[in-house]
């Protein structure tokens, strides 16, 4: 399988504090990889470094073989993201936001692409509504439509289903799975919903105190570590990371 993301020995230090230490992993085309860990584990720091908005202290990020540090613009043109903490400007409409970001990603036949995404994410009736007045679920759908504009080879999703009702969350998961199934790109996904992770992700990485503690199939990993479920394994990682350190599969 072809790697769309290769993270090598990534580290970020703030003064004497290691936010992320020596993190290495990859994401393959068509794969959904879950990046899991308790609050403050370094998930968002890692994603921010992959998005190029945070410079690593050391290590490298390669997107489709392009080094982010030296080919920033080309590398980022192959990515896109949606995060609950990065809403699109609330004073522009859904369609206006899609057009602006489509131009930034230099999407060809942009008008047609916008129409496709408005249909795909059930946003046609909201196209002229300002983002700021949409519900959480509608905003998430609009952000995901933005994230799909350039058909990214690397899609980064930081808690995309946080604060969504179960029905909307299920629709979003289906959209992401459909994206991965098309084998256009890979997905790096963070979530605190372990049932969701088990359902969606092909592989998970457990991050704790800035280090990867565990890696494997989310459906097999709990049993391999003597835990009844992924949620229990998550709690064990959060409470007793030392007991699991070095047991990465």
């Amino acid at each position: 399988m072809e790697c769309v993301l290769t993270v090598s020995n990534l580290a970020k230090q703030y003064g004497n504090k290691n936010a992320v230490s020596d993190v290495s992993f990859h994401v393959e085309r068509g794969e959904i990889v879950g990046l899991l860990g308790p609050n403050g584990a370094g998930k968002t720091t890692t994603i921010n470094m992959i998005l190029g908005v945070l410079e690593p202290t050391s290590g490298s990020v390669q997107i489709e073989g392009l080094d982010l540090a030296t080919h920033r613009s080309q590398a980022l043109s192959r990515t896109n993201f949606a995060a609950v903490y990065a809403p699109l400007p609330g004073n522009l409409t859904v369609a206006q936001n899609l057009r602006i970001f489509g131009m930034i990603y230099t999407v060809s036949q942009l008008s047609a692409r916008i129409e496709t995404l408005l249909d795909q994410f059930n946003l046609q009736h909201l196209r002229n509504t300002k983002m700021g007045v949409l519900s959480s679920g509608e905003q998430t759908r609009a952000c995901l439509a933005k994230a799909m504009l350039n058909e990214p080879t690397l899609l980064l999703l930081d808690e995309p289903t946080a604060s969504l009702d179960p029905a909307t969350a299920r629709d979003i998961r289906a959209q992401i799975r459909a994206f991965a199934a098309r084998n256009i790109g890979g997905v790096l996904w963070t979530s605190h919903n372990m049932l969701e992770v088990q359902e969606v992700c092909d592989r998970v990485l457990f991050l704790s105190a800035g280090k990867i503690l565990l890696e494997g199939d989310p459906r097999k990993l709990p049993a391999e570590h003597g835990q009844p479920s992924l949620e229990e394994l998550f709690i064990a990682v959060a409470h007793e990371p030392c007991s699991l350190e070095g047991s990465s599969t």
Partner: protein
């Protein structure tokens, strides 16, 4: 390959389009483009008319003072136009969305500058119209040298505007208060209304480091029927280009600092310490 050769103007156009959408949908944003400069020209127009009636010196204050106000407002409008376009991204916490894309700093700044040119041209036209209709001042009365006046002030305004954006990027949204009075801080040394010679010696040195001081010296000379001070205008143009280069360097340095510190991703925190 040079930085400029990597610029994709479609991405800069996206920054401009965003501002166009905002202006189109909001009279609150459109009014300040016209209202303050309109009031300024009217106010100074009547002051100069009054001075002409009481001075009895034969000196026409309209081209010297009202022309200076028009030029200075043009500078302020361009500078504030860049800053305001930048603030739209501050106010909506849009940095993460923008800078996690292929958009480069150069493309972004080009977008801000083009936006400012667009809005300022309308402001300039309004000022020229009011000055001509109400006070009989035609900017063409200065001759072709008026193009040099406007160009130098335009370039300096870009430099100061980009520098102002760098200050806010570095120190967070609260630094916005510092940006609005920048023209007022500069104006005593820019010698908009009086010759550089009236300043104390140490202030004259500072005034000569500011491109507008040469523009307004030349404007006063032309208003008095003397030839324009071409050498001064040349120095002014060169200084303005140096200010742009310095501002670009400062903005890029601040942006890199923001990437290292994580400030771009957590901008509302103002600092990561």
């Amino acid at each position: 390959m040079s930085r400029m050769s990597n610029v994709n103007l479609r991405r800069s156009a996206a920054v401009v389009l965003r501002q166009y959408y905002l202006l189109r949908s909001s009279p609150v944003r459109l009014l300040p483009i016209f209202i303050w400069i309109g009031i300024d020209i009217l106010l100074w127009g009547f002051i100069t008319r009054y001075l002409n009636t009481v001075a009895h010196s034969g000196f026409n204050f309209v081209p010297a003072l009202l022309g200076a106000v028009l030029m200075w407002d043009f500078f302020v409008r361009i500078m504030h136009g860049i800053a305001t376009a930048f603030f739209e991204d501050v106010w909506t916490r849009n940095f993460l969305n923008f800078f996690a894309t292929p958009l480069t700093v150069t493309e972004y700044v080009i977008g801000l500058v083009v936006t400012s040119i667009g809005t300022s041209i309308f402001g300039l036209l309004l000022m020229v119209l009011i000055a001509a209709l109400f006070f009989g001042l035609s900017i063409l009365s200065y001759g072709t040298v008026v193009a040099a006046f406007l160009l130098s002030l335009f370039l300096f305004a870009i430099g100061i505007g980009v520098l102002a954006c760098a200050i806010v990027l570095r120190y967070g949204p609260a630094a916005e208060w510092f940006v609005w009075p920048i023209p007022a801080i500069i104006s005593p040394l820019a010698c908009v209304f009086y010759p550089v010679a009236v300043l104390p010696k140490w202030m004259q040195i500072l005034a000569h480091l500011l491109p507008p001081s040469y523009v307004f010296e030349s404007l006063r000379a032309v208003s008095a029927g003397q030839p324009p001070q071409l050498l001064g205008l040349l120095i002014s143009g060169i200084l303005s280009l140096l200010y742009i280069a310095a501002a670009g360097w400062v903005f890029t340095t601040v942006f890199r600092h923001a990437l290292r510190s994580g400030l771009i991703a957590r901008y509302s925190a103002e600092s990561v310490n």
